[in-house]
C-alpha cells in the first residue's frame, strides 16, 4: 500500500467514522446487530437452511425462559473478565492480547486449592486470590518488557500466550494431574467451588464476582485520580506525560489489573463451571475465552457497563447456538452456527473498531517502523 492510498483509506474511514459516531451508541449497536443478523440469514439461506426457524431457535435457546437466560449468563461470565482485561489496556492506550494466556495461568493456580483444606468460603476466597495473583504476575512479563525494552505489547502478549499454553499443558499432564483420571487435573473440592445459583443450569455465584469486578473497574477508571491518569495516558501519552503523569505507572497498573481480570476468568471456569471443576487435558473448557473476550470488549465499546450487556448478548448467542443445532426438521449444524455467530459478532464490533482504528493504525505503524529499522541495520551491517 502506498502512502497516498493509506491516506485516502484513512480519510474514508474517518468519514464513515464521523457519520456513524453522529448516531446514538445504542442505535448504532442495534443497527450493527441487524446488519449482522441479515448477513447471517443470507448465509443460512444460501446454504439451504431456514433463517427464520434458526433465529427463532437462537432466540428461544438464549432468552426463552429462566433456564435459558441463566445458561446465557453463565456462558458470558468468564468473558466479562477477559473483556475487561482487554478494555482496561485499550483505555490505557495498549492492545493487550494476553488475556488468553493469563487466564490459563489463573485457572492452573485456582486448581492448586485442591491440595489443602480450608473452611468453605475461605477456601473459595483463597482460590480466587491465587488466580488473580497468578494472572497479574503473568501479565507483568509483557508489561516489564514494554517498560524496559520498549517491546511492542501486541507481539509480547501473543508470545506469552503460547508460553502459558504449553506451560499449563505441562502442568495439567504432569504436575496437577489426577492419578486416577489422567485426562484431567485434580478437582477443586466442594468447599472451594462457587455454589450454583440457578439449579439445573451452569450459572454459579461467579456472576456476582464478574459484575463486582466490572463495577470496580468502572469506578476506578472514571471516578478516581488514578483512573483519570490511565485514561489520559491512553488518549494522548505525550500530553499526559507533560501533565506530570507517570506513563510507566499507568502501563504497569493497567496490565496488572487486566491480569487480575484474566486470572479471575480462569477461576470462574475451574471453580464455577459444573460438572468437572478441573482443567481437562488440552484445555477444551478454557480455550478461546480470552480471544472471545476481545470480541465482547469491542461489542461493549470497551466500557465496563457495555461489556456486561455485550457478555449477556454473546453468552446468549452461544447458548442459543447450541439449540440451533437440534431445533426443527432441518437443524443448522455447528459449523454453520459458528459462521452466523461470527458474522453477527463482527458486525457488532465494527462501530468500536472504527473508533479505535486510529490507535490500532498507530500501533501497527510503530511496529512497521521497528521492522524497517531492523532491515536498515541489517543492510548497514552487510
Amino acid at each position: 500500500m502506498t502512502a497516498h492510498e493509506a491516506r485516502s483509506g484513512g480519510r474514508l474511514l474517518r468519514g464513515a467514522h464521523r457519520t456513524l459516531t453522529g448516531l446514538h451508541p445504542v442505535l448504532e449497536s442495534v443497527l450493527a446487530a441487524v446488519l449482522g443478523l441479515l448477513v447471517g440469514a443470507l448465509l443460512m439461506y444460501i446454504w439451504g437452511y431456514d433463517p427464520w426457524r434458526a433465529y427463532w431457535a437462537l432466540f428461544r435457546g438464549a432468552y426463552g425462559g429462566s433456564y435459558e437466560i441463566a445458561s446465557s449468563i453463565a456462558r458470558g461470565v468468564p468473558l466479562i473478565f477477559t473483556a475487561l482485561t482487554f478494555s482496561i489496556c485499550v483505555r490505557a492506550g495498549m492492545f493487550n492480547i494476553g488475556a488468553e494466556g493469563q487466564m490459563y495461568v489463573g485457572a492452573a493456580a485456582a486448581v492448586c486449592v485442591a491440595y489443602f483444606k480450608l473452611p468453605p468460603g475461605l477456601h473459595l476466597l483463597v482460590g480466587i486470590a491465587f488466580a488473580a495473583i497468578a494472572g497479574a504476575i503473568w501479565s507483568l512479563g509483557p508489561a516489564l518488557l514494554k517498560l524496559t525494552r520498549g517491546v511492542n505489547e501486541v507481539i509480547s502478549t501473543i508470545m506469552f500466550n503460547w508460553i502459558s499454553r504449553f506451560l499449563v499443558f505441562y502442568l495439567v499432564a504432569y504436575v496437577l494431574v489426577d492419578a486416577r483420571q489422567g485426562q484431567r487435573t485434580v478437582q477443586v473440592p466442594v468447599s472451594a467451588r462457587f455454589p450454583i445459583l440457578v439449579r439445573g443450569t451452569d450459572l454459579s455465584y461467579s456472576v456476582f464476582l464478574a459484575v463486582a469486578f466490572a463495577l470496580f473497574v468502572y469506578f476506578l477508571l472514571w471516578h478516581t485520580a488514578t483512573g483519570y491518569e490511565v485514561r489520559a495516558a491512553g488518549l494522548n501519552p505525550t500530553a499526559a506525560r507533560y501533565g506530570g503523569i507517570s506513563i510507566n505507572r499507568t502501563i504497569l497498573l493497567s496490565f496488572a489489573l487486566g491480569g487480575v481480570g484474566a486470572g479471575l476468568a480462569g477461576a470462574a471456569t475451574t471453580m464455577g463451571l459444573p460438572p468437572t471443576y478441573a482443567i481437562i487435558s488440552g484445555l477444551p473448557e478454557l480455550m478461546n475465552l480470552g480471544f472471545d473476550g476481545m470480541a465482547v470488549a469491542m461489542m461493549g465499546r470497551n466500557h465496563p457497563i457495555g461489556i456486561l450487556v455485550a457478555a449477556l448478548f454473546f453468552g446468549g448467542l452461544n447458548a442459543g447456538g447450541r439449540v440451533m443445532q437440534f431445533y426443527g426438521s432441518n437443524p443448522v449444524p455447528l459449523e454453520m452456527v459458528r459462521v452466523v455467530m461470527g458474522a453477527i459478532v463482527i458486525a457488532m464490533a465494527i462501530p468500536e473498531l472504527v473508533r479505535v482504528f486510529p490507535a490500532i493504525a498507530r500501533s501497527v505503524r510503530r511496529l512497521g517502523g521497528v521492522f524497517r529499522r531492523d532491515r536498515a541495520t541489517e543492510r548497514e551491517g552487510a
Binding site: 489422567g182 459444573p274 460438572p275 468437572t276 487435558s281 477444551p284 447450541r322 449444524p333
Partner: protein, 389 residues
Amino acid sequence: MRKWLGLALVVALVAAPAMGQALKGKVAVVLDVGGRGDLSFNDMGFKGTDEAARDFGLQMVEVQSATAADYLPNLRNLARTGQYDLIICVGFLLGDALAQAAQEFPQQKFAIIDSVVDAPNVMSIVFRENEMSALVGALGALAAAHYGYPNVGVVLGIEIPVLYHFEAGYRFGIDWGNKRAAEVLGTNPVGLLYTYTGSFSDIALGKAATEAMLAQGAVAVYNVAGPLGIGDLEAITEYHRNKGTEFGPPYYFGVDANQDWMGLGKHGLASGMKRVDVGCYSAVEAVVNGTFTGGIISLGLAEGGVGISKYQDLLDFIEFAVGAGAMKAEDRDQTIANWLANRATIPGWIWEAVDELEAGILAGTIVVPTADTVEEMRAVRAQYTLGAP
C-alpha cells in the same frame, strides 16, 4: 361400579408402562470437542446412529460441542425437551457431564461410548480393545521376526484407562507372536517401544514419536491416539520415500476406524478396529426393541465390536472416505491394488497365525489380559516386559 373402577385402574396400570414404551421417533448423538470429520471415532458414532435411525424410521439429530463447557448444557437441552428416545454420548470425555445429566433426568435414556456411567438410565458401551490389539501385536511381532527387525512400536495418546486396554492386549499379542516366531523361525523375541504422547490432537508429537521408533528399528507403529496417527503415517511415508521403497516394512497400524486406505493404502498393513458405529447402532436397536437397560455392554471380537481389518472392511471404509470427501473416487482401484501389494509382503503363514489367535480368543481358549488401573497396567507390563529391563 366400584368393581369396574378397580378393573379400569388395573387396565390403566398394565397399559401405562406399555404406552411408555411407545417411541417418540427421535434419537440424538452428542459429540465432544473433537467434532466431526475425523473419519474415525466421531464419524463412526455418527454413522452408526444415522444407519440405525434410517433402519428403524427415526429422526436423528447431531449436536457438536464447541467447547467442553457445552457438554452438560447440550445434554440438558436435549433431555429437557423430552422428545428423544435415546441420547448417545460419543466419547469418554462426556462421562462427567452425563453422570450429572443422567441423575437430573432419570426418565431419559442415555448411552455412552467408552466410559462407564453408573446410573440405571445409562447404557455404558465399552469395547474389549485388548482383543483386537492382541491380533495387531501378534502380526507386528511376526512381521518383525520375518524381516529381522528388533522392535515393534505403539504411539498412545493420554494415559487413560481406555488406552490401557490397547497396551495390555498389544503386549500380550507381541508375546504370543514371539513364541510362535521362536517355534517356526527360531528367532529371538522382539521388543516393544511405546510412548504416551499426552495428546490426541498434536499431530507433530505423533510424527516425532514415530520417527524415534523407526530409528530404533520398529517394524511397524500402532496408532492408539486417534488423529495423532496422521503424524505416525506421515513419518512412515517419509521413511519409505527416503529409502526409495514402496511397500513392506515399516508398516502403519491404524486404529478405531479402518485406516488402511489412508495414504492410498501403501503402508497401512492392518487396523485394530473398534466399531463405535456398531456400538451406537446396537444402543438404538435396544431402545427400539424395548431391551434397553442401564449397565455395561462390553463389545469384543465375538460381538463384532472390535476386530483386525479385512478386505471387506477396506472396501467399506473406502466408500466412507469417498463419501466424506477425504478420498477421490478415482483413487479407489489404486488404493486397493496398493493395499493388496503391501499385504502380500507378509507371508501366508503369518496371516494364518493371526487367524489362529483370533479363533482361540473367539473360542475362549486364549484369554487376553486387560488393565483398567495404573496398578493393573503395571502388573501386565511386569508380566510381558518385551525387552524392557
